[in-house]
Symmetry: C2
């Protein structure tokens, strides 16, 4: 066998990272996986489920419903929604049906769903995989198939209240996941457009200059300026004026100051955006999240469909950056190091109307949690920690100490299952007791119910605590009844409520 060497195995064979790539394999590669994708093994699934459960709890606490849409959409549904990134869309082969593409995000399918069902207000979350034919960088959590966790509020409401809730949600989720310090950058498309206008950027260059500004979190201002002037033909003077604005960061005070700014206040668009930022911060104060939110004029975001407020959350802890194998300098670096975006979103008031035959608009604001990078961090954290991750929830192993007790084991486990107890039995007629106990230790199963000739004769089951090796058996009751552990044993054993139920059930007693 050759070594695992395609990109999906980059973590296993980092030196081969540059040899294999999408569509090309190193000689001797025996992998049969798709480049840029990953399988989740049971340990990774355990981490994934924990992350999802935190996120879903937060979405539900905020009253969201959930929907689901197909993995593919009509190609025309996705066309013209993603700007330059449209080239990354996966198309299906034309096999004599419709022209289909894999979804690129969850926002466009959501807008299509609202328009098709004529829904004018809803608060929903959607957790699902999306697809982008990007250059994968697996060790940094960049895949071609990856999860997004989206929360969106659609409806005609008073300004900035739903927008503020989206930021509150990002704040809650990132705090609860305990990934280290973070910042949420906020800006507004109208402020950007107003800024471009007053700095003398020609109208037709707004979008392209905007996507250059978007690179400020990945490259220094000098390079961004060079791209604006040399590649995009902007005047040096305009670039320098933009440079002044995009270095500004602050809170409500900055919005107030800019509303007085001689140049920027000439743009009605910018003023509307600034007034909304002010309003937003007043709600964020009530939500008690202003300590992590920064009004940052360098935030641009690539997607075409945003119309108002935009935001992006970045982890800033140097420790996390190291764990993630990535150390970039954030735009507004300060002392902390950015490890890239883990959440982003904004207001898109025009998207639903693009799917409605009469163009009826439904204002929307939402946020998308980019979960793969979070998974990577959590996985590395789990590996570094001594704590063992259980991948099953088995409470008791039904074992036998002698041969020819398969029937009795199957009878006992049937009773346990029908009592709702999570139980396992080895699929062997005559397994060795040692191998049954070893399996318990490996899998973290806390209890073993042991059947033997003597127990059968006495009509008892021996119950053994794997960690402490303590054993108990009832004196004289039916095969399934054992004595309840004495209370002090329970306390030292650190067994869960479910396992206590098992013990109580086994003893035939109510708790």
């Amino acid at each position: 066998d050759g070594p695992p060497c395609c990109l999906a195995c980059a973590t296993a064979a980092p030196l081969l990272r540059d040899v294999c790539g999408p569509g090309r394999r190193a000689p001797g590669c025996v992998c049969v996986c798709v480049c840029g994708t990953r399988d989740y093994n049971p340990k990774q699934m355990a981490i994934r489920e924990k992350v999802f459960s935190t996120i879903v709890s937060c979405f539900k606490r905020h009253g969201a419903e959930t929907i689901d849409t197909p993995v593919f959409e009509l190609k025309e549904t996705l066309t013209g929604k993603y700007g330059e990134d449209s080239k990354l869309i996966y198309d299906l082969k034309d096999q004599g049906g419709e022209l289909l593409s894999l979804r690129y995000d969850l926002t466009v399918p959501f807008a299509r769903y609202l328009a098709m069902n004529k829904i004018t207000n809803i608060k929903r979350y959607h957790i699902a995989k999306v697809y982008r034919r990007d250059n994968p960088a697996m060790t940094r959590g960049r895949y071609r198939e990856f999860y997004q966790c989206d929360f969106d509020i659609a409806g005609q409401y008073d300004a900035m209240i739903p927008d503020a809730e989206c930021l509150k949600i990002v704040y809650e989720i990132l705090s609860e996941l305990d990934l280290g310090d973070f910042r949420i950058k906020v800006n507004d498309r109208r402020i950007l457009d107003g800024m471009f206008a007053v700095c003398g950027v020609p109208d037709e260059k707004f979008r392209t200059i905007c996507s250059t500004v978007d690179k400020l979190d990945k490259m220094p201002w000098e390079e961004v300026r060079r791209e604006m002037v040399e590649e995009k033909g902007l005047s040096e003077q305009a670039a320098d004026q933009i440079g002044e604005y995009v270095s500004m960061q602050g809170g409500m005070d900055l919005a107030e100051r800019l509303l007085q700014d001689q140049k920027l206040s000439q743009s009605k668009l910018a003023c509307a955006g600034l007034a909304d930022i002010k309003q937003l911060f007043s709600y964020l104060q009530l939500f008690q999240v202003t300590d992590k939110v920064v009004f940052d004029l360098s935030l641009a975001r690539g997607l075409d469909y945003y119309t108002g407020i935009i935001y992006e959350a970045v982890l800033t802890q140097a420790g996390v950056a190291a764990a993630c194998g990535e150390a970039q300098n954030g735009a507004g670096g300060e002392e902390s190091v950015s490890v890239g975006s883990v959440a982003g979103g904004g207001r898109y008031d025009g998207l639903v109307g693009m799917f409605d035959p009469k163009g009826r608009k439904v204002p929307c604001v939402g946020v998308s949690i980019g979960i793969e990078r979070i998974f990577s961090i959590m996985e590395q954290k789990a590996e570094a920690s001594a704590e063992k991750i259980r991948t099953t929830q088995v409470q008791v192993m039904v074992a036998s100490a002698q041969k020819n007790l398969l029937e009795e084991r199957l009878k006992l486990i049937t009773e346990l299952w029908s009592a709702g107890i999570k139980a396992e039995v080895m699929y062997k007629k005559n397994p060795k007791l040692l191998s049954q106990l070893q399996h318990c230790e490996e899998a973290g199963i806390p209890l073993v119910a042991i059947l033997g000739e003597q127990e059968l004769k006495d009509g008892v089951v021996k119950l053994r605590v794997v960690a402490s090796r303590e054993e108990v058996a009832s004196e004289s009751c039916s095969i399934l009844h054992v004595e309840l552990f004495p209370v002090d044993v329970q306390q030292t054993m650190d067994i869960s409520a479910a396992e206590l139920t098992l013990l109580c059930w086994a003893s035939g007693r109510a708790l």
Copy 2:
């Protein structure tokens, strides 16, 4: 706007069902969905989550881990695994990378995963969508994108123990989902092959005759016989002998009788299969599931990869059949009417070896729950029942009785959220009390916390039970503290534990 008329909307516009189809739309169709797929609205999601939770609980009770694999595989991974059905595989467009196909089931990706990671034993479940370019029949739960819930046991174990557990799992899930009566048909590929051999079917016709036998649940014996003789060129005598065998149904007794059958007992293959069926039934007796399991020689199953035992579960209740809009006559009809398969599986000992460079085999047995048909039934049941399905879990609505109290509402809800309480607020500066209360009734929110000038002055919050319209307020405590409901009110209100927590928390008391 034209009426919704593509296949995805067949339930809404049943008369147009035949007008639209994959790739063709009726004139005036305004749908932007992919034919053969569906969106799940919040109500459907609530049902789906309930079904999944029942299934996952069962899988976990039996000690399964879970994995996930990408939605697409290399095309070559799927090639040659599905027999005649391979034409239904969705291919991706060649966009300069690998040739990819959407997964057709979860079994082949599982086998690929085991081989690639050199895993020789695992018990895992996997719940995910699979893709087939079949003719959709949405009202009967047949889609081009649909969920499968798979449970498989891989490893070299003593015969029939894991196989019996798979059947036990099907039994538990179908019982718990409460879909009405069901049967689990069992057969063995080796018995089928042995039967074909002793009936005089030429070796090279085994597979094609097998797929004709597979149609016995959809058409009467006469038609199946005709296809064998006229289309597939089988002798009338061989067909009639097959006809005798495939009409047989029974339990362990039938296996014993067939082991004595003069003709069938000449086939070693058949005898091995029959011995295993006998062994299987002895375990099924211990698992207490023999009342629903039938050894049925007409069961064939289409997929190529099965090597031993095969099984399929069908719902038999006439009531369910009517609800499902489908009434077929089962092969062994009796008095009950089959509504088609809801679960199926079997043993596939050769599949993993096909992905291993050295052909090392890993014996596997598994079952797949076909969930879409179950969703359809549950949805129709939910529609027929008076019970209202909640799509959110909101416990309390933070409302105001007067104008200009947005700040106070946002402050209060911030406290509720940080206490883990699921709470909502209307995104309006000055919502009407009536519309806030109406929203509670529509969404099934049980409690409203009402703020008004008087309450603020008194330093209390009024808490109102939406259903009974009872109200309470504390006498003199902080804005967040209200009196605990008297116990008798709790009882008549039928409020949940979480809501009680809310009340206790609001009152500043421990439970």
